[in-house]
């Protein structure tokens, strides 16, 4: 019988597919109800075993379990697509992206061996690291970045509950896919911002 954390990992991959599916289906002449059903079918399809392993398992073998933050972002995208969330709730706020890019730049190069310090170690339950995250979450509320506060809180809660296989809090906060998206989205925003400023002159 599969472990609980394997099921949550697979479910995370399958649910993540809902966002691109909903965006692709939006281009088709489908009703909202039909789009929701078709998106649900994609999620279920990813969980059906082929050759002894669900399709989501092949993806999971490569990318691992998706962070809670990624699921929150994709959930917001899907929720907006289906009109369940107001357009004001957007994951593309520059503050959120900047926060993610800084976290990714701090974590990945050092964890892969640049320098002697490994920030990944902090994720095994270092109390001051949790304290720092609490400050960031409160900062997210103060700066009107509710997605930052919600993502951090949900990640901490999932880590405390042992939601995934990983016992490291970083794996709940961030993953390479979210990091790559954040870097690209921030670069795109900066490109547009500078373009706008130049045109304004």
């Amino acid at each position: 019988m599969a472990n609980f954390s394997d099921l949550t990992g697979l479910a995370g991959i399958a649910l993540a597919a809902a966002a691109p599916s909903s965006m692709a289906l939006a281009r088709l002449p489908l009703s909202k109800r039909a789009s929701i059903l078709a998106t649900g079918a994609v999620v279920v399809l990813l969980l059906i075993p082929f050759g002894g392993l669900p399709l989501a398992g092949y993806v999971r073998g490569i990318v691992g379990d998706l962070s809670i933050s990624t699921l929150v972002v994709l959930g917001v995208v899907t929720g907006r697509r289906f009109g369940m969330l107001s357009p004001g709730v957007s994951p593309r706020r520059v503050g959120s992206l900047l926060f993610l890019v800084i976290a990714a730049c701090m974590l990945y190069p050092l964890a892969l061996g640049v320098g002697a310090c490994d920030p990944y170690r902090l994720g095994y339950g270092e109390p001051w690291f949790l304290g720092l995250l609490l400050v960031f979450a409160l900062g997210g509320i103060a700066l009107r970045l509710p997605l930052v506060a919600a993502s951090i809180s949900l990640a901490v809660l999932a880590w405390a509950a042992g939601w995934y296989e990983s016992g490291n809090l970083w794996d709940y906060l961030l993953d390479p896919m979210l990091a790559a998206y954040s870097v690209l989205a921030l670069a795109f925003w900066l490109f547009r911002w500078f373009g706008f400023r130049l045109r304004a002159r």
Binding site: I62, A111, P146
Partner: protein, 437 residues
């Protein structure tokens, strides 16, 4: 989102934050504290004759065999693990195991412990290939096996998978993935001997070889969950650490030199049970980018087995240090085929030499042909053959014997048994040859 929900949202967020961080701090504060290392108890029988015995763990021809490891079972038998397949990294590679009974001096039948498809089905992830296995026995007798699995790319994309057995390895639990790296969980590999901390948690030496090459140490609980992870070195040159636990607070680490340069074994040390490790630096022990193994004897003497040459893997020696690793001396040369390097241009000549060596290893062999056949298959390329004695793995049993296994021509696993009395005699008699500073 309705207007009422939007109005409640900030309070929902505050509530979520309070609950999440209360649970988070509760978990963080429940984390096991740092504790001393634990040395296994060793009781050496009195009046034992000095013995050094050699044999092969398996004798069938064909597969590529590599990266053997050992663990002592509850009843004093020894279980070995290694990987076996058509070639290193092939999808058909499986983890094999066999048990040695010191009472009759024989290895039992081999069995497959893990394969690619079974592992993939258990961890619910795509798995491309399997690699190095190591095992340890917990205080309650449970065996934990850790083996390398790759889902993405080559060995640098490895992660660790674990399984456990409560019947000394006859049956195994479904495999579980060990998550130990933030970047797609890539590049954590095992090779060094696991050890224990005083609270029963497990120290698992691992290494990273994607972009950087450095040694690391995982602390695991009985379920295989990672409690802590720390660096044993940094940079791009250290691989395959082995931790030689001297007492509750002191340990030495020896590491394979995994890059160009001086080709010397690297070392690090702790005097506070691993809270801090000294920066890795080169010893004067030669190392041709090959695995090293070692252990600390109850009297503090350090033993290591390594290819103590700068290139090739055709020499393998047992060395010892009485001063915590500052100076080493050769105790016994296990293999030395340097002289034959230039002569091995003819596979027929090579096969004859391999047969002779196999019979020297185990005089009771009825047919040495499989040894020649497999060695020619795996070690001869374009009419050029070579010897390889590599990936040694050394353990100390509860009776004070040292048990060693290593890869023999990528075709067989060779087993060398040093009795405690043999070690005591040779450690005393050996000529001091200082080779390190």
């Amino acid at each position: 989102m309705t207007a009422a929900t939007a109005k409640r949202a900030p309070w929902l967020l505050y509530g979520l934050l309070v609950v999440a961080f209360a649970a988070g701090f509760a978990k963080a504060l429940a984390r096991p504290p740092a504790v001393p290392f634990q040395r296994p108890a060793v009781v050496v029988p009195a009046n034992e004759a000095p013995k050094l015995r050699t044999r092969f763990v398996s004798s069938s021809a064909g597969p590529h065999r590599h990266a053997a490891s050992l663990v002592e079972l509850r009843d004093g038998r020894i279980r070995a693990f290694w990987f076996s397949g058509s070639r290193e990294g092939a999808p058909d590679v499986v983890i094999r195991s066999a048990v040695f009974d010191p009472r009759n001096g024989r290895w039992g039948a081999e069995q497959t412990v893990a394969d690619r498809a079974g592992t993939q089905g258990a961890v619910l992830r795509y798995v491309k290939k399997l690699g190095n296995p190591v095992a340890e026995r917990a205080a309650d007798g449970t065996l934990h096996l850790y083996y390398v699995t790759v889902s993405l790319g080559g060995w640098a994309g490895s992660s660790i998978t674990t399984t456990s057995s409560s019947d000394d390895g006859e049956t195994w639990s479904p495999a579980r993935r060990v998550i130990s790296s933030p970047f797609l969980n890539v590049s954590t590999l095992v090779k060094g001997t696991p050890f224990h901390y005083a609270d029963g948690t497990i120290g698992l030496p691992v290494y990273h070889e994607f972009l950087g090459k450095f040694g690391e140490l995982l602390r695991l609980d009985a379920t295989g969950a990672v409690l802590d992870k720390q660096r044993l070195s940094d940079g791009r040159r250290a691989l395959q650490p082995v931790v030689l636990v001297q007492d509750g607070e002191r340990a030495r680490v020896l590491m394979r030199h995994g890059d160009g340069g001086a080709n010397r074994v690297l070392r690090s040390a702790t005097i506070d049970a691993g809270r801090h490790w000294t920066p890795a630096r080169e010893t004067l022990l030669a190392n041709p980018n090959a695995a090293v193994t070692g252990l600390a004897m109850p009297d503090g003497t350090l033993l290591a087995v390594l290819n103590d040459i700068e290139a090739n893997r055709d020499v393998l020696s047992l060395v010892a240090s009485n001063d915590g690793g500052a100076n080493w001396r050769t105790i016994h040369i296990l293999e030395d085929q340097q002289a034959s390097r230039e002569r091995l241009v003819d596979p027929a000549v090579y096969a004859k030499a391999v047969k002779a060596q196999a019979l020297v290893t185990d005089a009771s062999l009825r047919d040495a042909a499989p040894f020649a056949e497999s060695s020619v298959q795996h070690m001869c390329v374009a009419q050029r053959c070579s010897f390889e004695f590599s990936y040694p793995y050394l353990i100390l049993t509860a009776r004070g014997d040292a048990q060693l296994v290593y890869t023999w021509n990528r075709s067989f696993i060779k087993h060398v048994e040093f009795s405690g009395a043999w070690l005591a005699r040779h450690l005393k008699e050996s000529t001091k040859v200082p080779v390190d500073g």
